[in-house]
């Protein structure tokens, strides 16, 4: 009996050690190029930088990384290779907080970066680390409708009509969807409705939602590929992307009011220190404010923060419907009143009041 027990324990220990050994081997193999940069400067190995971002920024960062890598090599004599990760903003924040080794995060909302900070990875005060609350580019929420606008949707008030099918993602699982919800809230508030009336209007709006996808890209697909609903509440850059991918099939309607979405960027201090990449990471984010980068952002339909460049892209025609991407590249419609998150008391308050368990968003679905 004793012998039996002994051999049980022995094999157990053996299996554990072999598994961990296999684990380390795999890590050191995959991280080889990353660790070598810590050793010496004589050969100047490539520095690897990981940027964890949210869904709609793929095209933006694909373009930006190329420019940045060239810029950095030219000015600092150092090759950099940026690895991207994209996904729902909240999910990405969660993964970084759980140990995904990102040198920088470029997420959809300040609240998500806050989560990473709360986990102790980013030093407090990250919103003042870079200009303009650390958001080098902004966006807003607009409507995407089918060509010719068959349902005559021009503003938020049209979304609560009974014959309109709305597509928007679930604010509980998608960062972008919170902006949609808050923009709608702001509109009804501007109409002079009381809080109860606003809640009622929002309830009607979400009653019209045909598919409540879990992410922004999923919602776009439901609307564009699967032809669900009459109107998609979308990030401005997503809406323009659809216009570009499917010319002639969709139109953008800019509502009278919306919300200024400020994606937030930050260096993940703990990870960057560990990798020795703090300088590169800081430069990576700082360069987002350069004229060259601001142009790339504008070309990818993000509103640049540099007013001069911003003005280069402002739309001149007097219409709130955009049927195609303007040939002169001037796509920004300035004829819109934008509120921002401070109107709602910041993310913490907005979350607690609207999106927490049992808060307003849950209440509108209670029967």
């Amino acid at each position: 009996m004793k012998k039996r027990l002994l051999s049980v324990l022995l094999t157990g220990a053996l299996a554990v050690s072999s598994l961990t050994a296999c684990g380390t081997a795999a890590v050191s193999a995959s991280g080889a190029s990353g660790t070598s940069n810590a050793e010496g400067t004589e050969e100047k190995p490539v520095i690897e930088l990981t940027n964890v971002s949210y869904d709609p920024t793929r095209e933006l960062y694909a373009a930006y990384n190329e420019v940045f890598e060239a810029y950095y090599e030219e000015n600092f004599g150092q090759r950099v290779e940026v690895t991207q990760s994209h996904g729902g903003s909240g999910k990405q924040a969660l993964e970084v907080a759980n140990g995904l080794e990102a040198d920088v995060v470029t997420l959809a909302l300040e609240g998500d970066v806050q989560v990473v900070s709360d986990a102790g990875l980013i030093d407090a005060g990250f919103t003042s680390e870079f200009d303009l609350d650390s958001s080098p580019y902004t966006s807003t929420i607009v409507f995407l409708v089918r060509s010719g606008n068959p349902k005559g949707i021009y503003d938020w008030s049209d979304l609560i009509r009974e014959d309109v099918g709305v597509i928007t993602p679930n604010p509980k699982t998608s960062g972008g969807a919170m902006w949609n919800y808050l923009a709608a809230w702001y509109f009804f508030e501007q109409q002079g409705q009381s809080e109860e009336e606003i809640l009622d209007s929002i309830r009607k709006l979400y009653g019209n939602v045909v598919v409540l996808d879990s992410g922004a890209r999923g919602a776009t697909t439901s609307f564009v590929e699967n032809k669900q609903g009459d109107v998609l509440l979308a990030w401005e850059n997503e809406a323009f992307l659809s216009l570009k991918e499917y010319p002639g099939e969709y139109e953008i309607v800019v509502p009278s009011v919306s919300i200024l979405c400020q994606p937030t960027v930050a260096v993940v201090d703990e990870v960057a220190e560990k990798h020795g990449t703090t300088d590169v990471a800081t430069e990576y984010l700082r360069y987002l404010y350069s004229n060259e980068a601001q142009d790339i952002e504008a070309q990818n339909f993000y509103r640049p923060s540099n007013t001069e460049i911003y003005n280069n892209y402002v739309f001149t025609a007097d219409s709130n419907t955009i049927t195609e991407i303007p040939e002169d590249g001037r796509w920004i419609n300035d004829n819109i009143t934008l509120t921002d998150i401070n109107h709602f008391g910041g993310w913490q308050e907005a979350r607690a009041k609207h999106f927490a368990d049992g808060a307003y968003f849950d209440q509108i679905y209670e029967q």
Partner: protein, 277 residues
């Protein structure tokens, strides 16, 4: 005579029902994938499957699958042997725990590893100083893959070993054979085909795992993106052709594995017939 006729009608009715069912639920989605993969013509398809990141993702998927299948084969053989050849307390609970992973939601499967090995988990502070990264790295992907295919091999072996009983092994043991000799000479020949089938099943499922891996991969492009995750990435990037082209790689890999099994099985049956004669 009557019965014969009735049976023939029944036979074809059943066959037709099966064909319609499979056509709608299995073959149509397949056709859909292939049609979409070629929506932009052959060149679009080739571009899709030879993309640098597609190749890296395929490589990672193959690597994770091989390691996971190996671990599960060792585990499956040990567990099946242990459960069928000996009697001990807690056997029922043990086999329930072995089955459990199949029924656990993939989301939960990913979540438990994040909670265990992640920065907030209990083991992080011991593993991190050693430089061992589990989640958001390849070992985590392998672990998740092992988890979702956990009982596949042992479940195939247990019924056969139960039916076979322990007489032959006991006889061999009495004649003085050691553990591995008994296993190789007596047990293995009986379970050869079941083992093969289990490995095939395990491989197929491991290649396609999405949910659990998605939770703990970190989606680092070119590093921890497996083929299924890469497909989702393309799909969300409006690259439907690329997404379905990448899916077709998986379909082809799956078909290769399944055909391989049919061939081996066929050969095995022939061998059996010859030796019987």
């Amino acid at each position: 005579m009557d019965i014969r006729k009735e049976n023939r009608i029944l036979k074809w009715v059943l066959i037709i029902i099966s064909f319609v069912f499979l056509a709608v639920f299995l073959i149509l989605p397949l056709i859909y994938i292939i049609v979409t993969a070629f929506r932009d013509g052959l060149s679009g398809y080739i571009k899709g499957i030879t993309d640098e990141y597609a190749l890296k993702a395929t490589g990672l998927t193959i690597k994770a699958t091989i390691i996971a299948v190996l671990v599960n084969t060792i585990f499956g053989l040990a567990a099946a042997w242990c459960i069928t050849k000996y009697s001990f307390k807690g056997k029922k609970i043990l086999s329930t725990f072995i089955d459990l992973p199949v029924t656990v939601s993939p989301i939960i499967a990913g979540l438990i590893y994040v909670l265990t090995f992640g920065r907030q988990g209990a083991l992080y502070k011991y593993l991190d100083p050693l430089g061992i990264k589990i989640i958001f790295a390849v070992p985590g992907i392998v672990l998740a893959t092992v988890f979702v295919t956990f009982p596949f091999i042992s479940r195939e072996l247990i019924p056969i070993l139960t039916a076979q009983g322990t007489d032959e092994e006991e006889a061999a043991a009495l004649m003085g054979a050691g553990t591995f000799t008994i296993f190789r000479k007596v047990t293995l020949p009986h379970v050869k085909w079941a083992l093969l089938y289990g490995v095939v099943l395990c491989t197929a499922r491991a290649m396609g795992e999405f949910g659990a891996v998605s939770v703990l991969s970190g989606h680092l492009r070119g590093k921890t993106n497996t083929l299924p995750l890469y497909i989702e990435l393309l799909y969300q990037g409006y690259d439907f052709t690329g997404a379905f082209a990448a899916s077709s790689i998986l379909v082809i890999m799956a078909i290769i594995v399944l055909v391989l099994r049919l061939i081996l099985e066929h050969k095995g049956k022939k061998e059996l017939d010859v030796s019987r004669r």
